[in-house]
């Protein structure tokens, strides 16, 4: 039997030097996690791992901007190294890149922290939403950060948020990001935004262009990962995920707020507490009743999706997305619904074209379980 993997996200601070318009974490206040809370969090995570016989721990540093509290990152890593025993701990971090320095990136790499950079794409697009506290654009700083991060790790991941305003520029953004040298691109929609039909028409056009681009890159035998396309193809080429594999909302996955409160997912950690989603505290442990209550709510079948031909392939199960766009975890998100319908169709048509050409890269990328490792090595060369 495989041992359980525990994923814990530590929110080091509520503070951030940027003021991204779509940020869901609330007001930016200089509230950081205290060293006592950090120690309690480490104890809590290790105890939970032992209780669950988990041999692997995924620790993610999140914020606000985690690099504001960079010393605490290395303190936590030192503590885990000292206390982890036989448990394998891997570290990830998400940053806006503006505080990144070569020395810091080197230190993060030396400590095996996998860093993901938030960048929305072309400067024209990026600067619409991602501005600093004074309202100034940040694209130049982020481009610098991108360069120094890629110099040290060519497999650095970027996260790109698509909003109704930038939906039409998606192709431009992906080309820009790819041009910078990134090969792992995670895209996501701003699910809290006010999407309408016109935005989706724009998005559909962008997806179609992206489909042609994806096809072109595959024909050139390029190694890259584009989450919107690759994950959708995966829903057909791999067995549908079991409920337990999808999301461990508050079970094998949880987030720790700077004040030590436990939440089922990062999206619920805000400067202002969300009492209905607190599932415990690092000092007192999990509140089983709250956990079960949330689990009961999230696992309810989405009746509005009954009979949908894409039910097994769509990501309507993601509770935090549902919460962001509908205000409740029980209802499927209308944005997800529209997005999946148009995206899956375009993705499938793109994949069909590649399959008809019997594109070798396509076949290996989607049917060879070792592709991820081989391509990782190849990208790093």
């Amino acid at each position: 039997m495989l041992s359980k993997v525990i994923s814990a996200t530590i929110h080091l601070t509520h503070h951030c030097n940027l003021r991204c318009s779509y940020c869901y974490t609330g007001e930016k206040l200089p509230i950081a996690m205290h060293y006592d809370t950090i120690d309690a969090s480490i104890d809590f995570i290790l105890n939970d791992a032992n209780d669950n016989n988990a041999k692997t721990l995924n620790i993610t540093f999140f914020g606000g901007e985690p690099l504001i509290e960079k010393d605490k990152i290395f303190y936590i890593i030192d503590q885990f190294d000292r206390l982890k025993n036989n448990i394998t701990v891997s570290y990830r971090m998400s940053t806006n890149g503006t505080l990144m320095t070569p020395k810091l990136m080197k230190k993060l790499m030396d400590n095996d922290v996998f860093v993901s950079l938030s960048i929305d794409g072309h400067p024209d697009v990026h600067d619409i939403h991602r501005v600093d506290a004074g309202g100034k654009p940040t694209s130049a700083k982020v481009a610098n950060a991108a360069k120094l991060m890629l110099d040290l790790n060519r497999c650095t991941n970027v996260t790109c948020v698509i909003t109704p305003e930038t939906a039409g520029d998606l192709m431009k953004s992906i080309e820009y990001i790819y041009g910078l040298g990134f090969r792992y691109i995670t895209t996501t929609l701003d699910y809290s935004a006010n999407w309408n039909d016109t935005n989706f028409i724009e998005l559909e056009k962008s997806y179609s262009r992206l489909g042609r681009w994806y096809e072109k890159m595959m024909m050139k035998e390029e190694r890259f990962y584009l989450s919107f396309f690759d994950e959708r193809i995966r829903t057909r080429t791999y067995k549908p995920l079991k409920a337990s594999e999808k999301c461990g909302m508050g079970d094998s996955q949880y987030s720790i707020a700077p004040n030590g409160e436990l939440y089922p997912c990062i999206q619920f950690v805000k400067t202002q507490s969300l009492p209905e989603f607190i599932i415990g505290h690092v000092d007192s442990g999990f509140d089983q009743k709250c956990q079960n209550h949330i689990k009961g709510k999230t696992e309810k079948p989405k009746l509005e999706c009954t009979g949908c031909a894409l039910e097994s392939r769509c990501s309507k199960w993601c509770s935090c997305i549902n919460y962001m766009s509908t205000g409740t975890v029980e209802k499927a998100s209308h944005i997800v619904c529209h997005n999946e319908k148009l995206l899956i169709k375009i993705v499938d048509k793109t994949a069909d074209r590649l399959w008809k050409k019997r594109n070798n890269m396509f076949v290996h990328k989607h049917y060879n379980p070792d592709y991820a490792i081989i391509s990782h090595i190849e990208i790093n060369l």
Partner: protein, 526 residues
């Protein structure tokens, strides 16, 4: 927080159907040929110059250039693909259509023929703690297959659903409870009860039962109850007998003979129920039915009625033995064993022969435990019999019936023709819609009687406009011809699609069996 009201979640009824392989198709890395990984030049240079050539070998389970064809073959009929144990459903509506036993067996045999492997049909395998019948087996090559479907799924292959666990009361207790329930229902509303009886009366001659029920007029409650029960039982017995009027003449004769015996009504009723097993006219072979009917005739001719009843009961018990193995009743081996027992053993000794039925059942049925053992034998290279299950997703016939744009245009044309012949101008249609909408708005959200009123009003409007339609007989004929032609084409298309899907599924099965044979040969060192 966004509360967008314009966009709504709506299920997609028909999605684009992609053609690239899904997870349940064959792995395109391996089929039709192994595909080497397109290593980048940089990687190859590094591998050869940097002394890390071993890196290129680290994909042992994929179709890389460094691996051989044989290494990639896998057993395509592992038990995990069989989708057992499965949960049976009470209703079949909406379930996917699957290939039949005959189709599957023929496709599988075709694959074995193509590989020049001769199979012995219905070979009983009885070794290594396994007893089952392989649909095809070649002893010399130690290869074969067994088709697992609802007719041979034994213990553990189907999950027990709640309705299966339902425990029946003894027939006597059941009858007592039924009589009590019926009498209470009769007392509650006598006229209604008597009125309802007519729906259950099979034969006109039985209508006097309703008169009998009307005439119940005993001196005491107990007497009334007894009278009711006697009528009820008489009615039920007649009903049972009537159900055999056309179906089984011999059984009817036996029932009639028993009906004239001195048994009381309750015993007769219980006996009739018990003897239901003697009706073998359905789903059994002609030979079997014939043999049983000959036996029933001989029973009827018994000298004494007591002996006749006993013999009938014995035959019923024999035919009802191991009722839970209802699937084996259709199998030839079972029927031949029963015929043999009846012909060659005294009826008093039939119960001593039940072991033989057990043996036949064990040979036909496959339990989950046995299926696991068959699978294990494959993995351990002891015996290569592929357990091919009807529950396997690959046995699903995926029919795709799409209406093309052309079909929709044709349907629209038909609609236009209908409107033209009937004088349904756009103005008239708009007026009709307006009237209907007005009613719908007026009665929005109503319930009960108001709802009936709404429907009546809607019906009146529709009727009014239908009466305005003026299609002549000649036009009707033209329209009907066009309509028939359209639907005939659609039907033919649908039939063709179904046939195509069947062929595709069977072809895929045949290919999988060929892969299995190749895999077995590889395991055997060929």
């Amino acid at each position: 927080m966004n509360k967008n009201t314009k966009l709504q979640v709506a299920p997609l009824i028909k999605a684009y159907s992609p053609s690239y392989p899904s997870y349940f198709d064959k792995n395109p890395l391996l089929y039709p040929e192994v595909r080497p990984y397109p290593f980048s030049q940089k990687f190859i240079n590094l591998a050869f110059t940097g002394g890390v050539a071993s890196l290129m070998m680290f994909t042992p389970n994929t179709g890389t250039a460094q691996t051989t064809n044989g290494d990639k073959l896998e057993n395509p009929f592992k038990l995990e693909r069989a989708n057992v144990p499965y949960r049976p459903v009470m209703f079949g509506t909406g379930l996917p259509s699957r290939i039949t036993h005959e189709e599957a067996v023929s496709a599988i045999k075709h694959a074995f023929d193509a590989e020049n492997i001769l199979l012995q049909e219905n070979k009983v395998i009885d070794k290594r703690g396994l007893t089952f019948t392989a649909d095809g087996y070649n002893e010399a090559l130690n290869i074969g297959f067994v088709w697992i479907d609802y007719s041979n799924m034994g213990e553990g292959l189907a999950e027990k659903a709640n309705w299966i666990n339902y425990k029946r009361r003894s027939p006597k207790k059941e009858l007592k409870a039924t009589l009590k329930r019926k009498y209470e229902s009769y007392l509650k509303d006598k006229l209604d009860y008597i009125d309802q009886v007519r729906y259950h009366v099979i034969d006109k001659n039985m209508e006097d039962i309703r008169d009998e029920l009307r005439s119940i007029n005993g001196l005491s409650i107990e007497e009334n109850k007894n009278q009711f029960e006697a009528i009820y039982l008489k009615y039920e017995i007649l009903n049972r007998m009537n159900s055999y009027y056309t179906r089984n003449e011999v059984l009817l004769k036996l029932y009639s003979t028993i009906n004239t015996s001195n048994l009381d009504m309750q015993s007769k009723y219980l006996l009739f129920n018990k003897l239901g097993a003697l009706d073998v006219s359905r789903n059994k072979s002609e030979n079997f039915s014939k043999a049983i009917n000959i036996e029933i005739r001989s029973i009827i001719e018994s000298e004494h009625k007591t002996e006749m009843i006993k013999r009938a009961e014995c035959l019923s018990e024999l035919l009802n033995y191991k009722a839970e193995w209802y699937q084996i009743r259709r199998k030839e081996a079972y029927q031949n064993t029963i015929i043999d027992i009846i012909k060659n053993t005294r009826w008093q000794d039939w119960h001593c022969e039940y072991d033989r039925i057990d043996d036949v059942g064990n040979q036909i049925m496959i339990s989950y435990k046995e299926a696991k053992k068959i699978d294990k034998n494959n993995a351990k290279r002891k015996q290569f019999i592929a357990p091919i299950s009807i529950r396997d997703d690959r046995m699903i016939v995926k029919t795709e019936n799409h209406y093309s744009k052309f079909d929709n245009v044709e349907r629209e044309e038909l609609r236009k023709l209908y409107d033209e012949f009937n004088g349904n101008t756009p103005e008239r249609k708009a007026a009709k819609q307006k009237e209907l909408d007005a009613i719908k708005i007026e009665y929005k959200g109503v319930k009960g009687e108001k709802l009936t009123e709404k429907w009546a009003k809607l019906g009146t409007v529709r009727l009014k406009y239908r009466e305005m339609e003026s299609m002549t007989e000649e036009q009707k004929e033209i329209y009907n011809k066009a309509k028939d032609k359209h639907y005939r084409i659609l039907q033919e298309k649908s039939k063709l699609n179904t046939e195509k899907a069947h062929d595709k599924t069977l072809k895929a099965l045949e290919d999988e069996v060929k892969s299995y044979i190749r895999w077995v040969k590889m395991q055997q060192g060929y």
